[in-house]
Symmetry: C3
Subunit: 268 residues, 3 copies
């Protein structure tokens, strides 16, 4: 039994210049419980960027109260043969397309369901807007307390992609930029734990973070440390090594984007 008022969160790449988000909210509020709260997480994800969306929901959704229903619609394959999913975890329920966007939230303990359109009755379902016609009605019903079994068929597995792994090549950790934030901070896939394991007994001061021809040696605790424009590394709020520039935009300074290689090396 949920201890909160019914809550549905929305994560899409729809933007809000078009009416898509508004139509979807209308369906949720019409078909959901009368005291439903709908919370916008983002509608500004890059169109069709499954990796970016997967990172977004990995960081955000576990922060929400137990019982929250999360609607995640980044869905370039809408209308094709890709399945529509309900994923029931212990503390949240996910609704979205079977296209890897939920991958980084899955740990094998989930109950998985393929949404069965027949359970939604006679409604028309467009082939281009499942967010409105399929996912929102399902999320509304889940928020009202319907069990996933009443809306879909249990399935064994879903499409998954692996989190981009760090490699050890010789004496270096080989990683990459996985996200560039609004401030131009470059988030890598090198976690704090991985970094600590790699450093082992070596002196932290011996470490450099290489990106292209740049060697970043200054490690700081927060963004306001360092001289203006200086490139620094730090552990960001998601627990990954970041490259930042004090009062400046590291992405611009380094002309860096998602996918760019980084290396952590140590000089003894």
């Amino acid at each position: 039994m949920p201890t909160i008022l019914p809550l549905v969160t929305l994560t899409t790449d729809f933007g809000t210049r078009d009416s898509y988000v508004a139509e979807l909210k209308g369906v949720l509020l019409s078909e959901g419980p009368p005291d439903l709260r709908v919370v916008d997480l983002s509608h500004e994800l890059s169109p069709f960027d499954i990796h970016g969306a997967a990172l977004f929901v990995r960081a955000a959704l576990p922060r929400f109260p137990s019982g929250t229903v999360h609607l995640v619609v980044v869905d370039p394959g809408v209308g094709s043969a890709r399945r529509a999913l309900i994923v029931k975890k212990r503390d949240m329920t996910l609704v979205g397309p079977d296209n890897c966007v939920l991958s980084y939230l899955l740990d094998g303990s989930e109950s998985l369901y393929e949404i069965d359109r027949a359970q939604l009755g006679e409604r028309p379902i467009s082939s281009t807007f499942h967010g409105r016609d399929l996912f929102a009605p399902v999320a509304a019903r889940l928020a009202a307390g319907a069990p996933p079994e009443s809306l879909g068929r249990p399935i064994e597995s879903v499409q998954r992609m692996a989190f981009p792994m760090v490699e050890i090549r010789g004496d270096a950790l080989q990683g990459r930029i996985i996200h560039v934030d609004r401030y131009g901070n470059l988030v890598t896939n090198v976690s704090e734990a991985t970094l600590r394991g790699f450093l082992g007994a070596r002196a932290p001061a011996s470490m450099s973070l290489m990106i292209g021809e740049h060697a970043i040696r200054k490690r700081v605790d927060h963004y306001a440390e360092g001289k203006r424009g200086e490139l620094v590394m730090l552990i960001g709020s998601a627990g990954f090594v970041e490259i930042a520039a004090c009062e400046a935009n590291a992405a611009s300074l380094l002309a860096a984007e998602v996918g760019r290689a980084v290396r952590v090396v140590c000089k003894d």
Copy 2:
């Protein structure tokens, strides 16, 4: 008696960099019922674009629960002689300026009211921000259950514009692009019903959609069909013929924008 908790939706061209939306929400929440839910539909409509806003609300507002109050503020004529309206439909109440923005929601069955400032008491009403000083207080009172008669005078008619009609010229349907969405899909004013009527007994395969020098012949069911970059036509989620490009941006490929002519022709 409403079956939902009080609900006010917001559709504006204010953006959220300025404080306008925030001020308006403050008034709604201060003067509305204590359990009011305020739902953002869009604040990113193009400044002063009445046609775009009219299409937006036509697509979105009918999706909301009966009893919802919809505030629509795209209002280049704020402070001028244009009237301020309440439009009461069977299943929704609209509040906004009398500048055609509500046109595509009107079918003649509505009760129309001109807002009477005197009903709002002694409050100051700026001449540049009726959204905050006039429309929001009215929407707050309507959401709390006040009847429209208590806030305005019945009127017989309001400003209206016609939906942009398709014409038949010789053997062709002549339409135009009425919206370009975030993904670059080009929405035309040719409805599915109009297309079906035009085709009649002719073979669907004989149909071409002409835009400038391009003839689009491939008709698909959803965006993921077709080869990468291929131009296709389909029926979009609002029931209109759309031009899309598989995994690409049709608007960029065709350098097309709102107003551009399209023609549907058949070769027998």
Copy 3:
């Protein structure tokens, strides 16, 4: 005792492409009262623009119901020695960094508190995201009714900046552009009261507003007055003199931005 359902507003420079706003909302909804309403004011403030944010909250927050908790996170100094604040006013509670962003809301009657991390228990607090780890948990507790004294230490003063003052130089009022809005309207720091005092017994028609080489003489009541493209002055919705261009963008026409000097002069 609040007369409204618990309400927390959010004002940040986070944007919504990153997961920062979503993470913060998750914390608020997890740790706040079960019927909490979270209302977005803006996430599109210019990164690190303390002055712009201070003007924004000055205009917006006083519109909200008594008892509202306002979270304001524009925080370039996150993780540094800057303090984290609770400011209790008669009709609102503010939570944010001690970096002047709340200055224009302070009148000396407030109770001021420095947030005491120890009151939040054993939770991890990142050095780069106090919005999520420090301010949101505090706002959630305040919204649930916790007194500020239970979350922080009383302090005597906070960082403040003065509102940019108008100067009288010879026969002129010397002001400046303090905000450019979405429509290109240029908001100055010359208030209606200041203007009235300066004019005194002089004829309003003798007044000119100078910006660079331009002398603006036409004073209007609202934006729709005047000829298309004509530069006009008016009193905007926040009570300050604005420069606008009828159906056009004054900021573009004048290549004007925040900080640009303006002068009000009178010819007798």
